[in-house]
């Protein structure tokens, strides 16, 4: 396939390396981490999505099938990233799943106001966490049909 190199399936926005590692490990177990890009803050996530900064010149046609977004991020926080994604016509159609430690009602409410596609609270226990992550990966990558 021609576009194999550019093909992106998951954009993981996570500043905490241990959380990222656990998340990637869980996805790998279900063979879902092959086309995964991991960015470490909100600014980098926006650069990646809109082809700016370090990602200038990136082919924007290669949109991720799902964005896994933490809310607590350095520089630009997750809420702001979500707002920018859902504001912009180019990125509006990308499914965004908030994957966060927070269970705060206002975070949930605000995320849905901004147009989030799903809100997942990370369980503390690894078993539950691994199960959650792999389920959501399966769902968004295999079950769900994104717009073409």
């Amino acid at each position: 396939m021609m576009d194999t190199v550019k093909k992106i399936e998951i954009l993981l926005v996570e500043d905490n390396p241990t959380d990222a590692e656990l998340c990637i490990r869980a996805l790998k177990k279900s063979n879902l981490a092959n086309e995964l890009v991991w960015v470490k803050d909100g600014a980098e996530a926006l650069d990646f999505l809109f082809g700016t900064g370090a990602y200038a010149g990136r082919d924007l046609a290669a949109t991720p099938k799902v964005v896994l977004l933490d809310l607590r991020l350095p520089k630009v926080d997750g809420m702001e990233v979500l707002r920018r994604i859902k504001e912009d016509e180019r990125s509006r159609a990308i499914p965004v799943v908030v994957l966060t430690s927070s269970k705060e009602d206002r975070d949930i409410a605000e995320s849905y106001q901004l147009g989030v596609n799903s809100f997942i609270s990370k369980p503390v226990e690894f078993d539950a966490f691994a199960k959650t992550v792999s389920e959501l990966g399966l769902y968004w990558l295999l079950v769900n049909h994104p717009p073409r």
Partner: protein, 511 residues
């Protein structure tokens, strides 16, 4: 009567009352004085008219001498006509001594004079041989005068001793019309004069009373303005001394009042400022608390997940390099991470029950209890019997009330797990202005000595090994019930079961 009068007078000002009293007095006085004046005038006029009538009659008697001597009706007519010329004379009669009527002019009903006037008749008889007229009868409309007619002694000396001879008599009837006219006009004149002077007098009194009550009116106006809320109102210290004193007292009272008002508004402003400051502090404290709980929720979980996750990876990837003790130790680490995660969740839950807005509605408590039990049933033992009786409705936040039943029923299930014949009862009883709901079990129970600790945060009366849990459940129950203006308490004994009561105010008694 007195009461009505005073109630009536209360409606009027001092000046108006004075005015009414004086006006009434003066008009009564004027009326009576004109009445008395008229009566006196009438008496005078009456005696004048009677005197005049007598003179006319006597005159007629003298002029009738010749007519009677000669029995000449012509002469008589002449005299009669002359008499009729006088105002008020309505009838004339000339009679001979034999009582034969020589001449009669005018028309008078004889019945009118059926009763003679005793006094005058007597005086008439007293007159000896002289033409003295008497009033011999009086009716409502007229007087009747009578005079005897004697032959007149001539100027001749021979006749000196001749006794005058009675030739006849004359009768004249005079109308009283003139009298009543005069009486009327006297009365009218008197009345007019009296009332005019009364009005003049009243006018003067009014000017005077205005002058007298002016300072009083001014003072009352100023008081009215002060009452209406005008500030800096001061009365003029003018007028009579007592009124000036009153004005002075009013002024000092107003000064004191204004001083107090200023103090109060200053205090109010101070209070408001403090409230604002405290609100600000509270708000910032609240915000800090919220961001704190947010941090706890987010930041404490992340490292916990790392500990748990990497212990898990260790167990998974390096299982062959660990002996049984190593694996046991790692599992202890994982167990405690899980427990810490639970504690964090409980703290956040507890803090949220204090912060969340309550959405009040009527709650079918019985249905709610059954619904919650249905959810929890899988965790209950097969030998557990649950009896949910009739429960009255309550007013409250349904989600929170659900949490109450979840906590109480799961506690009851947990503490009866070791019982062969576990029995859980949900019921109610009526209290004073409140409904008391209870969840009763025959489980492990507790020592009443520690009943006070039961509802504390993370207070546990059993070992973790014995019964799991962090000890937050009843603390949350207490907080929710308290937020519904209710209260909780517990009864129990060791191995004798426990009953947790929660009382909610009835609908009518909810503030």
């Amino acid at each position: 009567m007195n009461r009505y009068l005073s109630a009536f007078l209360h409606k009027f000002t001092f000046r108006r009352q004075l005015g009414i009293a004086v006006t009434l007095g003066i008009f009564t006085l004027a009326f009576f004085s004109s009445l008395v004046g008229s009566w006196q005038g009438t008496v005078q006029v009456r005696s004048d008219q009677i005197e005049q009538g007598r003179r006319i009659t006597e005159n007629l008697a003298r002029q009738s001498v010749l007519a009677l001597i000669f029995a000449s009706s012509d002469n008589a007519a002449e005299a009669a006509n002359a008499t009729l010329q006088f105002p008020g004379v309505i009838s004339v009669e000339i009679r001979e001594a034999s009582q034969r009527v020589l001449l009669k002019r005018g028309n008078v009903n004889p019945a009118e004079f059926s009763t003679p006037v005793a006094g005058y008749a007597a005086s008439g008889n007293a007159g000896v041989n002289q033409a003295i007229a008497v009033l011999d009868a009086e009716s409502a409309n007229s007087w009747r005068f009578t005079a005897p007619v004697y032959s007149q002694p001539s100027g001749s000396p021979f006749n000196e001793m001749v006794v005058p001879e009675l030739l006849g008599d004359v009768t004249v009837v005079v109308s009283k019309e003139a009298l009543s006219q005069v009486t009327g006009s006297i009365f009218v004149a008197n009345m007019t004069t009296s009332f005019l002077s009364a009005l003049l007098f009243l006018f003067l009194i009014r000017i005077l009373s205005n002058r007298m009550t002016k300072p009083l009116t001014q003072l009352s106006d100023i008081m009215g303005r002060a009452e209406a809320g005008e500030t800096q109102v001061r009365a003029e210290l003018a007028g009579p001394k007592d009124i000036a004193d009153m004005a002075h007292a009013f002024n000092s009272m107003m000064a004191v009042l204004e001083e107090r008002a200023a103090e109060i508004s200053q205090l109010n402003a101070e209070l408001e400022r403090r409230v604002e400051l405290r609100t600000e502090q509270l708000e910032s404290a609240n915000q800090e608390l919220e961001s704190f709980s947010y941090s706890v929720s987010h930041d404490l979980r992340t490292p916990l997940r790392a500990i748990d996750g990497f212990s898990h990876i260790l167990l998974e990837d390096y299982a062959d390099k660990l002996d049984d003790e190593g694996r046991r130790l790692l599992n202890v680490v994982r167990y405690n991470t899980g427990r810490m995660g639970q504690l964090i969740d409980d703290i956040l839950n507890f803090s949220r029950t204090g912060r969340l807005e309550l959405a009040f509605s009527r709650i079918d408590m019985e249905g709610l209890a059954r619904e919650v039990y249905a959810d929890l049933q899988p965790s209950a033992g097969d030998n557990t019997q649950v009896v949910i009786g009739h429960l009255p409705q309550a007013t409250g936040d349904r989600a929170m009330m659900r949490q109450v039943f979840v906590n109480l029923l799961s506690n009851a299930i947990k503490f009866t797990r070791t019982r062969e014949d576990a029995l859980i009862e949900v019921g109610y009883k009526d209290g004073a202005n409140e409904t008391v709901y209870y969840v009763k079990d025959n489980g492990a129970g507790f020592d009443m000595q520690y009943a006070g600790k039961l509802f504390g945060v993370f207070q546990r009366l059993h070992g973790v090994k014995e019964f799991e849990g962090t000890g937050i459940g009843l603390a949350i129950v207490k907080r929710i019930v308290n937020r519904h203006d209710g209260h909780v308490w517990a009864e129990g004994k060791v191995n004798g079961g426990a009953t947790i009561y929660f009382a909610l105010p009835t609908k009518e008694n909810r503030a």
